[in-house]
């Protein structure tokens, strides 16, 4: 009986917002895919494959933003290093795609990727073993960011590093990784990273069908991650996380090992970021150390800030809006983008502390608002 009630309350949480979100997401996905595949290219309603890929990229960013929101919005951990988890997931996928090239590379080596042949490497390094298997690569997409987040989070949270200190150290983490991945000796292609992918699971990456499939897969994963996050954060676990955000000392005195909660939330978030990276790489066709740059990580934070932290859909909306703006801006006048981004940082923190969704929420009646914070 009690379990039934519990299930019910969790499902109730899910029922509130998730369906709307999932429905909108799927509607757009289905419409865009159909318009790409079914309509002739000269039709007014045709959606180009380029647009499909762009949308897919945005959805990856949305997932990444959600990952940051989970830790920042709900637990107050401002990570300036989530780009690292994203990039690690991306590299794991990139390694799989690299192995898929086989002997179709410039040097025609069946085993070694081109850059290794170029560096006169004789054999495949041990950490490249197994990446020819899709399942193994996918496992690594989850494990590598997860383990790094666990090790880092465990070290940081246990010694009660918090606030700006933590932010700075996460930034140092991604910075260190960037330096490391720039090195040729690391065996990840150095400067150029991994690129020139041919196919995934046997499907040509350039084909429209594959592009649409990747886009749809991204939408599905995003929806699944949304529901999972909603469930997790709607449970008592989520309430403890909010408690940690607002009064960590109190939560400890109540008896919660707050560091353990933070570590696992951080791991969850890192895994989401890793998945986002893995979905991103086959769509954009390249992964390089630039993804580790501190600027990238901090940009994610601004997406979340713009959308409104502390709400999952806020993060998604923020990521989509800012990236759309970025695409438009860099197309029209590239120099202005950094001005705009910088101004956005300042404006959001000064005038929109709860983001765009916060702005909308303020116009809703009080009871609604309360449900929001309680969720």
């Amino acid at each position: 009986m009690s379990n039934l009630y519990g299930q019910f309350s969790a499902l109730h949480q899910l029922r509130e917002k998730a369906p709307v979100f999932v429905a909108v997401l799927f509607a757009i996905t289905a419409w865009a895919s159909a318009c790409n595949l079914l309509l002739p290219e000269d039709s007014f309603f045709h959606v180009s494959t380029f647009t499909i890929t762009l949308l897919g990229k945005y959805l990856c960013y949305a997932l990444l933003a959600m990952a940051v929101d989970v830790v920042w919005g709900y637990c107050g951990i401002l990570s300036l290093g989530h780009g690292a988890f994203f990039a690690l997931g991306g590299y794991a996928m990139g390694m799989y795609l690299m192995r898929q090239i086989g002997d179709r590379g410039v040097y025609g080596n069946p085993l070694l990727p081109d850059f290794m042949v170029f560096l006169n490497w004789e054999a495949l390094p041990w950490y490249w073993q197994g990446f020819d298997q899709f399942w193994f690569a996918m496992l690594m997409v989850l494990l590598v960011p997860g383990l790094l987040a666990f090790a880092f989070g465990w070290l940081a949270f246990r010694s009660r590093v918090a606030g700006v200190y933590l932010s700075i150290i996460t930034q140092a983490l991604t910075y260190a990784l960037m330096l490391a991945f720039f090195r040729n000796e690391m065996g990840f292609g150095g400067n150029n990273g991994l690129t020139d992918f041919k196919d995934i699971l046997g499907f040509d990456l350039q084909a429209d069908g594959t592009r649409v499939a990747l886009f749809v897969a991204t939408a599905l994963v995003l929806a699944a991650a949304y529901c999972a996050s909603q469930l997790i954060l709607g449970s008592k676990f989520g309430r403890v996380i909010l408690a940690v955000r607002d009064a960590e000392a109190r939560a400890r005195f109540v008896g919660y090992r707050t560091e353990t909660y933070k570590v696992w939330l951080f791991v969850y978030s890192a895994v989401l970021a890793g998945i986002a990276g893995a979905l991103y790489v086959p769509q954009v066709g390249i992964i390089n150390p630039g993804e580790f740059s501190p600027l990238n990580s901090i940009e994610i934070v601004v997406w979340v800030a713009v959308g409104g932290r502390g709400t999952l859909y806020g993060a998604v909306v923020g990521a989509l809006l800012v990236n759309y703006a970025k695409t438009r801006f860099t197309g029209i006048m590239p120099e202005a983008w950094l001005f705009a981004l910088g101004a956005l940082f300042v404006a959001v923190t000064l005038f929109l502390p709860r983001g765009l969704t916060g702005l909308v929420m303020e116009r809703l009646p009080r009871r609604e608002k309360l449900k929001e914070v309680a969720a």
Partner: protein, 278 residues
């Protein structure tokens, strides 16, 4: 932290994976009628001795008031008991068998020691109801929280506490929206629902109306006996109204101890603390 130490802790599964933790077996041994032993305790911050060779024994089931001027070491003492601050020397035992030093705040809380802060701290973004739910005595591990269900029994208990602290009507309100006094009450409610053996209450009536103060006094007195209560308070009227035994702290050590009258008539106390009141 040595590397070995770090790995040792990584392998320590009850530290890391609380859901694997064995059920708590240790019972507090109070066969000598003493619940809290504090012996030869000292701690200093940058050369300033906040606690100086302090000895204090709290009997099981008593209501004890700690008084003392600012900087006498009352809050620091609470910090040490609850694991927030680590002393330089000395021992703190919960019952005869449980050493409190070296334990984390969470562990100490789970042993049954609750604390109310000087400044009311509640989870402001969450409802009054959720505040109480979170504070309830229960498994506090991750898996337990993920799968936690509110049983009817638990809901009854929350309703009961809500009634005790007079916040039944505000149950769905965000805690941050409560008045200062109501927050004080909510925090007391959070203590109650955790069902602690020992309550450490830091200035419970600050910011309360006279009526609320009276109710608090009633509540605290009614708690004593079943539980042990240690109250730190500045409000002398309040202390007089509830205290059976009063301990006066001065510069980090115990200056005097006894009933209110005894303490009030103690020449040392009159000199350093109550002097200007008389």
């Amino acid at each position: 932290m040595s590397v070995r130490g770090a790995f040792g802790e990584l392998a320590n599964r009850d530290q890391l994976w609380p859901f694997l933790m064995p059920a708590r077996g240790a019972r507090v041994d109070v066969s000598k009628q003493v619940l809290l032993y504090i012996e030869d305790l000292s701690v200093s911050f940058d050369g300033f001795k906040a606690i100086n060779n302090l000895n204090l024994y709290i009997n099981d089931g008593e209501l004890r008031c700690l008084i003392g001027a600012n900087g006498a070491g009352k809050t620091t003492l609470m910090d040490i008991i609850t694991g927030k601050t680590h002393p330089d020397t000395g021992a703190v035992y919960f019952g005869q068998n449980i050493d409190l030093l070296g334990r984390s705040e969470a562990e100490i809380a789970e042993l049954g020691i609750g604390r109310k802060f000087q400044k009311p701290t509640v989870f402001e973004a969450q409802t009054v109801y959720a505040n109480l739910e979170l504070s309830m005595r229960a498994e506090k591990g991750i898996m337990a929280s993920l799968g936690s269900r509110l049983t009817g029994e638990k809901r009854d208990r929350i309703d009961q506490v809500l009634a005790t602290i007079g916040l039944s009507d505000e149950r769905a309100l965000a805690a941050g929206a409560l008045s200062h006094g109501q927050k004080q009450w909510l925090e007391i409610g959070m203590l109650l629902i955790a069902d602690p053996r020992l309550l450490l209450v830091d200035e419970p009536v600050a910011g309360m109306t006279a009526q609320e103060t009276e109710r608090t006094a009633e509540l605290l007195t009614s708690l004593a006996g079943e539980r042990t209560v240690v109250v730190v308070e500045h409000d002398m009227e309040f202390v007089r109204s509830i205290a059976r035994t009063v301990t006066v702290l001065h510069q980090g050590s115990v200056l005097a101890e006894g009933t209110m009258e005894q303490v009030q008539n103690d020449p040392k106390v009159i000199e350093v603390y109550l002097g200007d009141e008389h």
